[in-house]
Amino acid sequence: MTEPVVEAVASSWTTGTVREVERFGETYVRLRLEVADRHDHVPGQHYVVRLRAPDGYTAQRSYSLASDPADPLIELMVECLPRGEVSGFLHDVAEVGDELELRGPIGRWFVWGGKVPSLLVAGGSGVVPFISMLRFARRMGTASELTIVASAQTRERLPYIDELEEFGAFIALTRENHGNRVAAHIYPDELAELSKGIERAYVCGSAGFVSFIGRSLGEAGVRSDIVRVEQFGATA
């Protein structure tokens, strides 16, 4: 493991005001918020969203940022989970003008500072932190350092797919054909080709996805000590 690249900032709770809400079917909701006393984030970092009931009960969850640090608003793309206490509220209830308690930016490991040639591999909503990296890289003129691989069951399940296609990301849908590629998981051969010349790999997705990609990267010859992972979701 190497040292973190980001300086310590002790984050405290602040308020975010919802400025834009866009819902994508039953699956995703995109929220753009204006944050009071905001600290710039590094692509890959996350915020904590805390909801507070009238009797003081609170629920909080972490969400990766999709936005470029230079964006005047922060952008979250939240996957709506079954019985999701916070994601369900954000999907069903949140409206423009609502105020949410926020804390961030948090995390100094799963971050990309803009220079290291990297392979980014995402499963479903795991693509969100990579969108922040991509938008940042485009502004800085370093997008050529990034290779993005994104996988999901269907087009609808992959947020930001239009932005990813425009960039030239390698997209692997597992239950639909996509362009010339038939429905299939990402294969080690494909990863071997895509990982040429990289100095680091980031993998973000469910625990099962990360485990699968970890093995495939190993088969593709990528050393495990250059791989940084971020996982979410439950296992039985």
């Binding site: 002790a10 909801l51 609170t58 209830v93 979410f232």
Partner: protein, 203 residues
């Protein structure tokens, strides 16, 4: 802080007194959260070392650690990402049993727990003594799965679970505190879930 418009608490809301503030009951699930890929560890070459400020630096192999008195934990575990898992059963040995052999020197105040992957986490010595910490290789009567830190992990259940280093291989005793992996990356130095010590800057 203001009330969130329209929020009353969802299906996760339990009101269970065993739930620390800001946590939810994950039920039968056990989320996997790591910063690195899950390593493959060969039990024939695996070792556990206690060294640093001790009278008797000691390394145990897989058979040797099983020769120590068995100990188990039954209770709850709390992850900083806000899930809590009730009524877990882990088995292995108490860290006290290792320290009894290694014999901490009087000046030792903190430890660094290190994994085979290079992951590490810091703890005050008093948080891993007197029946508060274990080295475990069984969960629920079965070998601990690799993604949950198997074959062997640390267990310090009264603190947030990142303190319970997966794939543990070494505990080094020190006369000062030093930040480990997540602590350098913005998380709290101690991590008491009942005090909500999640991030650097929390009381």
């Amino acid at each position: 802080m203001p009330v969130t418009r329209g929020f009353t608490g969802g299906a996760r809301r339990g009101g269970d007194k065993r739930l620390p503030p800001g946590q939810y009951d994950t039920g039968a699930g056990w989320p996997v959260l790591t910063a690195e890929l899950t390593p493959t560890i060969d039990l024939d070459t695996w070792t556990m070392t206690v060294d640093g400020l001790v009278e008797n630096p000691t390394t145990w192999d897989w058979r040797g650690i099983h020769a120590l008195p068995a100990a188990s934990y039954f209770g709850d575990i709390h992850c900083v990402t806000t899930w809590t898992k009730f009524d877990t059963t882990f088995a292995g040995v108490s860290v006290d049993a290792l320290l009894e052999i290694a014999k901490p020197r009087p000046e030792a105040t903190h430890v660094m727990a290190t994994s085979t992957t290079g992951y590490n986490t810091n703890l005050p010595l008093e948080d891993i003594t007197d029946g508060k910490a274990w080295i475990v290789w069984e969960f629920d009567g079965k070998p601990l799965a690799a993604e949950h830190g198997g074959p062997v992990r640390m267990l310090v259940p009264h603190l947030y679970f990142w303190k319970s280093a997966k794939w543990i291989t070494r505990i080094e005793l020190m006369d000062h505190d030093e930040q480990g992996f997540w602590e350098r990356n913005g998380y709290h130095d101690r991590g008491d879930p009942w005090l909500e010590q999640r991030y650097q800057g929390d009381a």
